[in-house]
Symmetry: C2
Subunit: 250 residues, 2 copies
DNA sequence: CACTATTGTCTATCTTTAAGACAATAAATT
DNA sequence: AATTTATTGTCTTAAAGATAGACAATAGTG
């Protein structure tokens, strides 16, 4: 992505950024997608970017997410603005430059760029929830790697990115039942146990099996299909499918 | 307020603003505080302002609110960011200038100012809930007047300010029980009926008297005082006081 | 002293949530 | 083929919360 290299020369709104907390689900585990920057010093930072003059913030969030991770067409929503007075990249960037002095001479950080990027920034937090199996994150040349980290065992991230994840997760929990986005994380057909494991990952607590089944079925969004014979020595569970008539895709 | 006159020369973050939806309560009626601009053409606009480089957004919201309305020390919280691509003052300002051509020659709008203020703006919405009786809005010289308008009968406002009020009200309703800020709207001592009328204003619907009383008392935040003899020909209601031990003031 | 309007509270009913119990059953084991 | 094991679907019961109806207890009025 060209726009990452010289933000000061792009037609961006200044001092306003977007940070994305991409929560992913796989194997009963909730993770966060965190790129690791392609510099010495172990810098992890949430996928972030800036807003073009002629695009809306939601649109910008989607573009940034796709540009930085390759992920697109997913549910994505703002959850909070982070705008404390001293909020800036400067400490992080100075440390990065200090640790990469030798290799950085021919790279981007000229004075103008540095000043632009290290100003105080207000950032709009967006969060998403995706099925890790259905998504192929691809790193940009800016990153050394881009990996999923367990949400309760994150690497050290720059700035206030830990607080952002915490806040995003709280918002997700608050809205999960209403928005039904959780069902997008399941395969086409699935068992009730899989739904429960998904919920338990997101809320990080156990649910009673009997009552959970009732609650989910009472939502009236699932249709029951045939049974699923796994070969296990026990009663075969029913398969279900999400009835998404009148739901938005993605 | 000097800072209102030449925003382009102030040390503000560009293209980022704050809009305040000040909900006020009085006489069982919920209102919104809306200044009317001191220009020909009947322009109503929510109290808005910009963010200094060295202040946090919450701090900015409080300063803006006080500067534009005189109101301070109240609960104030962000509820949403408004950032569609075409979001700009320009249509409103052009109309304002058109209608005020003759008197505007000696006033502020030089080219630089106009360009600064009519760019695309992203705005962070903050809302507050206050007791109209305890608050004295004072207009600035920028305004012709500043008045309370019934929340379901607002004057035509500029830009997306109607949507902002709608969104703020929904957020308030969602959080009312948890935050207990509603009790700040009542006098020092009050009757249960007053609490109920307050709730009914905010939710725009009736509550059953018996169950409402139980629900509120079950919150365990009120202490019962003596009775209140109004002179009416009926049983005198008890007075209550809000026990705000461990609550934040304001 | 009846009468009116309003308040405080009780009860009955219904709904939701939580926890316990158990039959049904798919396959492995005997 | 009967027994065993792990898991599933659902029922029952209990507890908690919400909703609605009823009524006695006033503070004044006529």
């Amino acid at each position: 992505m060209r726009d990452i290299h010289s933000p000061s020369e792009q037609n961006y709104i200044q001092q306003l950024s977007i940070d994305c907390v991409i929560l992913g689900y796989q194997d009963s585990q909730l993770s966060v997608l965190v790129p690791k920057l392609n510099f010495r010093g172990d810098f992890w930072a949430l996928p972030s970017g800036f807003i073009y003059q002629n695009e809306g913030i939601d649109q910008a969030a989607r573009r940034i997410l796709e540009g930085r991770t390759g992920i697109k067409d997913i549910y994505l929503e703002q959850f909070r603005v982070f705008g404390d007075a001293p909020r800036s990249n400067i400490r992080f960037l100075e440390r990065l430059i200090e640790l990469n002095k030798d290799t950085l001479g021919d790279k981007q950080f000229d004075r103008k760029e540095f000043d632009w990027i290290t100003r105080r920034f207000v950032s709009i937090g967006y969060y998403a929830l995706v099925d890790i199996n259905k998504v192929v994150p691809r790193k940009t040349e800016l990153d050394e790697s881009i990996d999923w980290y367990p949400v309760r065992d994150l690497p050290p991230m720059i700035m206030d990115h830990h607080e952002m994840v915490k806040c995003a997760l709280e918002t997700l929990q608050l809205n999960l039942d209403q928005k039904l986005i959780a069902f997008n994380l399941l395969p086409e057909t699935f068992t009730m146990r899989e739904v429960q494991e998904l919920y338990e990952s997101i809320f990080d607590r156990a649910f009673a099996r009997n009552n959970f089944q009732k609650k989910i079925l009472d939502l009236n969004v699932l249709e029951r299909l045939e049974k699923k014979f796994t070969g296990a020595a026990n009663k075969a569970p029913f398969l279900y499918r999400f009835r998404n008539e009148g739901m938005q895709a993605g």
